[in-house]
Each structure stands twice: as structure tokens, then as C-alpha cells.
């Protein structure tokens, strides 16, 4: 007998995503009556370093900040209907996230919760000794004389499939490759094995298309008059209906906004992709050059023809170290001669940084001209000859220390009384930065672990 199709829902693309979008996805998965899983992607590249900083301040933190906000709206129905929730909620503290989920279940009156936890990605204490090789040709980050804030290997889908064998309601991971959040349940359901490269690749593509949530269903796509999208305020998040052979249909819940068409799927297939024939993941090397798309109904696009090649021998590790401080300040000039006053303000700021001998890299922008597409040298801005109705001057500086970053931001505020006429609306901000680099380690050096946390354990 053929194995039943599996439906996978993607309900978050990042830690700051909309909290309510999982509800229609969970409901659609449950109403389909098919085997299903619902996943949340919460862990951008630098997020782990920030989570480690949180963990250091409070040992009960260090997991995704909005864990309850994401899970609360769907927990009861998913538990009652046997739809596992899978998320890289754990960040720097997967066990902490599991404990918080049990508290949440208690608050919501959900009984008998089972949380499987995937660990083993955290290499912070050993990374210096692993003899890791540099990834790609980026400038290596220097680990001498600095503290490693975070070092996490991108785990693949196998530990997630193993975790699902334990029949949990929720799977919490730390760092895994985003696509593994979809491939894990597909491997477990269909019995796909390492070596089934085309099927593994199809599962990775499911994850790749869903991991950015609304970006495949019309979010981050609208360009009025060129690419119109209805009802983005109620954007429906994606569902993949996957067949045993690895072909699948991308769709979204009925009654939601957005659109699924060949254009939205193409933009997301190529998103963050380097060589389309060699997309490296821990599970398989993906080749999407032969992929075919077909619109088979409203908001339904069929995807087929994905190919896979054997997985690489090494795993990628993101290493984070202290990255100094960013200081920013902004002030607006409007009305007659606004651009000239804004240019004068930017010039004054440059002179002040020199006068005060501030040790920093400074960039000034004239927002309202061509700032964001320009380089740090301001080449495009210098040749700009329009006459905008208002211009916002922005200064941004990288410094090693907080005080210098703050001084630059403060100098923008000081333009109120000391700069050109009619400046207003100052905002200023400083941010602690994290520097990340990628290295490769041998698979032998990374040992994924799966454990079950029940009510009795907390």
C-alpha cells in the first residue's frame, strides 16, 4: 500500500515573525486529516550569540524570546490531534526551552506533554581544539585573545527524525540547518534514508521553500502595479503536501491573504542560494537546476525534478565573537534648501569625529537621496542632483568600545543647537555587535543527542 502523503506547515521565518500566523496553518493541517508536522524557524545566524549573552545574565533564558507567543495559540489543538510542533526554539538553551514549554502546558491546562530535545550542536567549549578549517574564502575570524561567544554546528535532519520516533508533541532543537525542520519529519514518515539522495533533496527543498514562511506565499514580494498581492495583513503561511516520491505541492490555508504562484515560488527557490546545482546542506547536496514548476490550481504550485548528491563529509559551524559597538544617530531637515542643510550637517559630523579624535569608522547617509544603495564612500550620494522635500541625515560608526559609539550618536543630537538651521527629530541608538565566521569540522566531532522531557522530569 502506498504511504499516505504528508503535509508540512511552516509557521515562522524568524524570531520576530508574526505570532498569529501559525493558527490557520495548524488548523489546515489538522482539517486535512493527513499525517502532518508544523515547524517554526527562529534562529538567524547571529541569534545564538545574542542568546548566549541572555543565558549568561539569566540561566533560565537563552532560548527564543517569544517561545510562548509562538506556541500558545496552537499547542492544545496540535497536541490533541497528533500534529508534532518542531522548532529551533532552543537557541543556546534547548533544555530551558523544554522546561518553559512544560510550564506553558500547565498554564494552558494541556496534560501529558512530551518534549523531545535535540542537542549536540554546541561546540563552544571545544571549537579551538577541533582544528576546524576555514569555510569558503571569507576573511577568517581571529579567535586568539577573544572569547568565543557561540560556536554551533549545523545539525541535519537525522536527529529530528530520531526525536520523532519517540512520539513527542514538540521537538526542540538548537542549531540545525533550517531545512532539516521539514526534512526530519519527512524522513521519519516516509522512511527515507541517507542514500536516498533525490528524496532527501526534495525534503530539503520543501524546507528551503517553507523556512522563510510568508516569503513563498506572497510576502516580501508585492510591488504594486507589477506584482500585486491581496490581503498581506492576513498573509497565509505555507503548507507543502508531499508525496512519497518527493514531489510536492506548495499551497496555503484557505481564507488567508497572499498568493502562491510560479513567481513567488521561483523567488523563494533562489533565495540565499549560491550555485543552484550545488546547495550544500548537512543532509544532501541539492541540485535545483532541473526543477520544474506547474501551477495546478489557485494558490497551488507543484514542484518536481529536484536532484540530490551525497552529503558533504564536513559540517559547517558558525562561530561568534565580540564585534564591538555600532553608534547611530539621525536628524531631519525639510523644506527649502533641505538637501544643502543636510549635506552641511553630515560634513560637520565628519569634522567633529576628527576634532574629537574618535577611533571609529564613520559613514554618513542622506536618507531621501540614494543612501541605502550607496557604498560607504558616498559616491552615488555625492552626484545626486535632485531636490528632495526632506532629507534625514544619518551617522553610523563602528567602534571597539561603547563610549566611542555613544559619542558619535551624541554628536548627532548636539546638532540641535550647533548644526544647520531647522534640524529636528533626532533619534540615537547604540548596539553591541557580534562578529561571525564559518568553519568546517569533521562529522566525527559532532555527536547529536536526543532526549525526552516529560511532565515528571520538570
Amino acid at each position: 500500500m502506498a504511504i499516505e502523503n504528508m503535509h508540512i506547515g511552516g509557521a515562522a521565518a524568524f524570531a520576530d515573525d508574526r505570532l498569529d500566523v501559525g493558527i490557520p496553518v495548524a488548523n489546515a493541517l489538522i482539517d486535512s486529516g493527513k499525517p502532518a508536522a508544523l515547524f517554526y524557524e527562529n534562529l538567524a545566524e547571529r541569534t545564538l550569540a545574542l542568546a548566549h549573552r541572555e543565558l549568561r545574565k539569566d540561566p533560565l533564558k537563552g532560548y527564543t524570546p517569544d517561545l510562548a507567543g509562538f506556541v500558545s495559540p496552537v499547542l492544545r489543538r496540535c497536541v490533541e490531534n497528533g500534529v508534532p510542533v518542531i522548532g529551533n526554539f532552543g537557541a543556546a538553551n534547548p533544555m530551558g526551552a523544554a522546561k518553559r514549554l512544560h510550564e506553558l502546558a500547565k498554564e494552558l491546562g494541556v496534560k501529558g506533554l512530551r518534549v523531545a530535545v535535540v542537542e549536540g550542536d554546541d561546540l563552544r567549549d571545544v571549537i579551538r581544539d577541533l582544528g576546524a578549517e576555514q569555510w569558503g574564502d571569507e576573511v577568517p575570524i581571529d579567535l586568539s585573545n577573544t572569547e568565543v561567544l557561540a560556536a554551533n554546528a549545523y545539525l541535519g535532519a537525522e536527529p529530528i527524525a530520531d526525536a520523532l520516533d519517540l512520539e513527542p508533541h514538540i521537538v526542540v532543537t538548537g542549531r540545525v540547518t533550517d531545512s532539516a525542520l521539514a526534512l526530519g519529519p519527512l524522513m521519519q514518515h516516509f522512511g527515507w534514508q541517507v542514500g536516498d539522495w533525490d528524496k532527501m533533496a526534495a525534503g530539503v527543498l520543501v524546507g528551503h521553500l517553507l523556512e522563510c514562511g510568508g516569503q513563498v506565499t506572497g510576502g516580501y514580494f508585492a510591488d504594486p502595479g507589477f506584482k500585486d498581492v491581496a490581503n498581506l495583513a492576513n498573509l497565509g503561511f505555507p503548507i507543502a503536501e508531499v508525496e512519497a516520491d518527493g514531489s510536492f505541492v506548495i499551497t496555503k490555508p484557505d481564507g488567508t491573504g497572499g498568493v502562491v504562484n510560479e513567481q513567488t515560488v521561483k523567488e523563494q527557490i533562489l533565495y540565499e542560494l549560491d550555485d543552484p546545482s550545488n546547495y550544500l546542506t548537512p543532509d544532501v547536496i541539492l541540485d535545483i537546476s532541473e526543477v520544474e514548476l506547474q501551477q495546478i490550481g489557485p494558490d497551488r504550485v507543484r514542484v518536481s525534478g529536484v536532484k540530490g548528491k551525497p552529503a558533504p563529509d564536513t559540517l559547517k559551524v558558525t562561530v561568534s565573537i565580540d564585534g564591538g559597538w555600532l553608534g547611530e544617530g539621525e536628524i531631519s531637515y525639510a523644506g527649502p534648501n533641505a538637501l544643502a542643510r543636510a549635506r552641511l550637517a553630515a560634513e560637520i559630523l565628519r569634522q567633529r569625529v576628527d576634532l574629537l579624535h574618535l577611533d571609529c569608522d564613520l559613514r554618513t547617509d542622506l536618507i531621501g537621496t540614494v543612501s541605502i544603495h550607496d557604498g560607504d564612500s558616498g559616491e552615488l550620494t555625492k552626484s545626486y542632483d535632485g531636490e528632495p522635500l526632506e532629507v534625514r541625515v544619518r551617522a553610523a560608526a563602528n567602534a571597539n568600545d561603547e563610549a566611542t559609539a555613544w559619542t558619535v550618536a551624541r554628536e548627532v543630537q548636539a546638532l540641535y543647537c550647533n548644526g544647520p538651521a531647522g534640524g529636528g527629530g533626532v533619534r540615537r541608538n547604540i548596539t553591541e555587535r557580534v562578529k561571525t565566521g564559518s568553519v568546517l569540522v569533521s562529522r566525527r566531532d559532532v555527536m547529536p543527542r536526543v532526549s525526552m522531557v516529560t511532565e515528571d522530569d520538570v
Binding site: 571569507e138 513567481q263 521561483k266 533562489l270 543552484p276 526543477v291 520544474e292 553610523a396 563602528n398 555587535r433
Partner: protein, 122 residues
């Protein structure tokens, strides 16, 4: 160029999205209609794309052709001035840069432009 061709910005016949990996910009260019594939293949070259990002310190542009998907993927090295970790640009990810690439001028036949306009906003 033949007189029957019309000069338009790439935005008239194609759409795209950018992503980042470190200091590397990843950029898709997707014709609205399949008939846009050939003029883009001919005119939206690696060297012209590189020129679009030279002012940001880019060092190389590579193009991958996807004739089955009717799409192109560009990889532009060192276009992000440090990337999200280190950039002083408001947009450290380079997310707005697809709309810089789409300002490139291309020359197309009236038929290609009409097909693109028909395929837009359906």
C-alpha cells in the same frame, strides 16, 4: 541596436529578490514572461552586474543560468561592505539591492515588453 528595440529598465520585464551570506550578495533575476529570458541572457551579463555594484566595493559577479526555471541567479562577492555583522549601511543584509539591480537598462522588442506587461500583476 536595431531601431525596433525599446530601452527599458530591467524592472519592466523582470523581478527578483536578494539574500546574503556574509559579505556575499545573492540575487535572483526572473523574467515575468519566458520571452524575457533570451534578452536577459544576452544583456544582463556578469560584467554589467558587477558594474552595478562596483561603487560598493564588489570584487566579482558570477551568473548561473536556469533555463528550466526561466531564471538567473547572481552571486556578487564583497558587495555588502562587511555584511550584517559589520556594515554601516542601514541595510546590512543588502535586502533592498534587488531593486538596484532592476534599474539596469535593457533593450527589448515591443513583443517582449508586451508579454512582460501582460504577465505582470495577474
Amino acid at each position: 541596436m536595431s531601431k525596433s528595440l525599446i530601452e527599458v529598465s530591467l524592472h519592466e520585464i523582470a523581478h527578483g529578490r536578494t539574500g546574503d551570506k556574509g559579505d556575499r550578495l545573492l540575487l535572483s533575476v526572473i523574467p515575468y514572461d519566458e520571452t524575457g529570458y533570451a534578452p536577459i541572457a544576452e544583456q544582463v551579463t556578469e560584467s554589467r552586474m558587477f558594474e552595478m555594484f562596483r561603487h560598493r566595493g564588489a570584487t566579482e559577479a558570477r551568473r548561473y543560468e536556469l533555463p528550466k526555471l526561466y531564471a538567473f541567479n547572481f552571486v556578487i562577492e564583497n558587495a555588502l561592505q562587511g555584511g550584517v555583522n559589520n556594515s554601516l549601511n542601514l541595510d546590512g543584509h543588502g535586502k533592498t539591492l534587488s531593486f538596484l539591480a532592476l534599474t539596469m537598462k535593457v533593450c527589448v522588442s515591443p513583443g517582449v515588453l508586451a508579454a512582460a506587461m501582460k504577465a505582470r500583476s495577474t
